[in-house]
Amino acid sequence: METLTTDVLIIGSGAAGLSAAVYAAQSNKDVLILDKGVIGRSGSSTGAVQIAGLGEWSDPGDHKQSYLNDINVSGRGLSDPQLTTRLAEDIEPRLKQLIDWGLKLDKDEHKQVAISHTSGHSVPRSLSAKKGKTGLGITHTLRKKATNSPHIQTWSDVITVDLIKASERVIGAVVFDLTTNKTYFIQSKAVVLTTGGIGQLFPITSNPVQATSDGFSLGLSVGARLIDMEQIQFYPVSIIAPQAIAGFCISFYHYAKLFNNKEQRFMEIYQPDTLEDSTRDKLSIAIASEIAKGNGTPNQAVWIDARDAIEQVKREFPHEYKVCNDRGVNLAIDRAEIGPAAHFMMGGIQINQEAATSVPGLYVAGETAGGLHGGNRLGNNALSECIVFGAIAGMNAVKEAERATILSVDPSLWKASSEYISHLFSATNGRVRPFQLKDEIQAIMGQHASVIRTTEGLETAEKQLKRVEHNLASIKITNTNVYSRELLDAIEVRHMLRTAKAIIKASLQRQESRGAHYIEDFPQQSETIQHTFINNKGGKLIARSQPVKGGPT
């Protein structure tokens, strides 16, 4: 296996990975950033509609403390105060820097930066670029900055198979280049994981096809600790039908009305004060409960009616209006069928305020990191997290690289990875195609680990995932050309299985309903607030609970 070396290796190139690269490259260290899709264009960041932030344009009543309060309240006691404080402190300088690098925020009719209200924020602080294509605007700005840097090397179409550890440190990664079918060991002084989320573990998701949970699996494999993995945000108002846009997020639900199949505006019962302008966890539980009661459409959805606010929708969310219209749903005339879709992993690899994990040499940022959003991520805080913690991870990875040296490494360290890749190339006589294994995982997670969970269902999921693991040994791959979707699917399904098991374990561990984790056997919140942790001990996942810092409140 060919070995390459770099000072800082960044895996994943959404807003967090690109931020890490750009800030790391402000030193004169070598930075290599990988993506299994196209650099800067294959992450969830691309689809992010707005970003929450502070700046000279902010509402007079808005400041660091009010932003911090909103995040902490939304987190249902599970947000790590060190992380929330860092976000509130750093968001303004990071946004200012992006604007200096060319990001243009959308303006209102008075030519001032437009700020809009988003559910859960006490004051309007949501910003937009490219008219509701903010993630695209931010990744374009960062991508341009990265490709112009002499210290950053970018590499598209390469998937990470394993992280490699020596003497308790992460020292690099084994990667597979889909365009040449060659495997490499990339040795680095520090690794930053920014691989995004888990949406593809579920049958309906807002996430891109690349969101197969690779980072959580890679972290687990080298002993990193996962925190609160049961906390998965389901975006409450996502298109269910037509299938071509299933999972597409509707952002304007706070202007619209939701109806069940009995023509009841059911939010009048669940949240009479806020109605549809509620937080995502409460809205998802309300919608899923209506569908479970049989009050949904034949497609297992409820209706959104935006006709009374259609001019505002067209003006503020033109892309969403157009995508629906192009698929035959004209929101000026029609209602649309919506329901919850897997959207965001709020748990993840535990980091501290320096984006460092419990494993030396390993930094994590963006959705792959856990602990910031707790039990409910506020709308528009995903990009904020990416640009703040991506920068922190990049700067600290460089500091680590300045201290570390590249040592000679025993090739036996990547023997298992090498054998695994060889196995994929000889799996022609297997029984199950990789996409079928993905389908099996999605069906299991969709049935048992969605918005409404039960202990019995989670235990069933655990057993069913064991069967998938068994089937993984009988994988069938007949296409070993370059850019083989089968090889990609096969490597991804291994990551998906590991992460799915961690989610189920964490969900069984939390014997209460808190934030996005709603379990029918324990419908109330406990008095003691605890985190769930998942560790990998010799290949076995171990779950435990621990009270949050500061003790019970």
């Binding site: 899709g37 196209v38 264009r41 294959s42 992450g43 691309t46 689809g47 294509k133 993630g135 695209l136 598209s156 179409d157 365009t179 891109p208 096809v209 690349q210 037509p242 299938q243 071509a244 846009i245 999972g247 597409f248 892309h319 995508v323 192009d326 698929r327 035959g328 195609r433 996409f435 007949t478 296409n479 050309n481 370059v482 850019y483 083989s484 979707r485 089968e486």
Partner: protein
């Protein structure tokens, strides 16, 4: 069930033809997913966001560049849905360009 005829220009410039089940409203990307799953596991194509933002799924559709995730599957003048890689740049495999 209604079927449509899909012609895809491959890496070696040959054309593969598939008869694919068609439901109203299917996008070109939905058709490609059907081909990968049920007709030909070697077909190579690229996509990500499925919502018309990332543009990585751009290809020639009935002779015109378009996003496969947004474009409704329709027959061209010759009665087939014809797919080919974008003409510019290096082709990695089938419909996948270096980006």
């Amino acid at each position: 069930m209604k079927k449509i005829n899909v012609n895809i220009t491959r890496t070696d410039n040959t054309v593969s033809t598939y008869q694919v089940d068609y439901h109203q409203g299917m996008t070109v990307l939905n058709i490609l997913e059907q081909i990968y799953r049920h007709h030909d596991e070697t077909i190579a194509y690229r996509y990500s966001c499925r919502t018309g933002l990332c543009t990585t799924c751009m290809m020639m559709i009935n002779g015109k560049p378009d996003l496969s995730c947004q474009k409704t599957a329709e027959l061209g003048k010759d009665g087939n849905l014809s797919l080919a890689p974008l003409p510019k740049g290096t082709t990695i495999q089938d419909l996948v360009k270096e980006q």
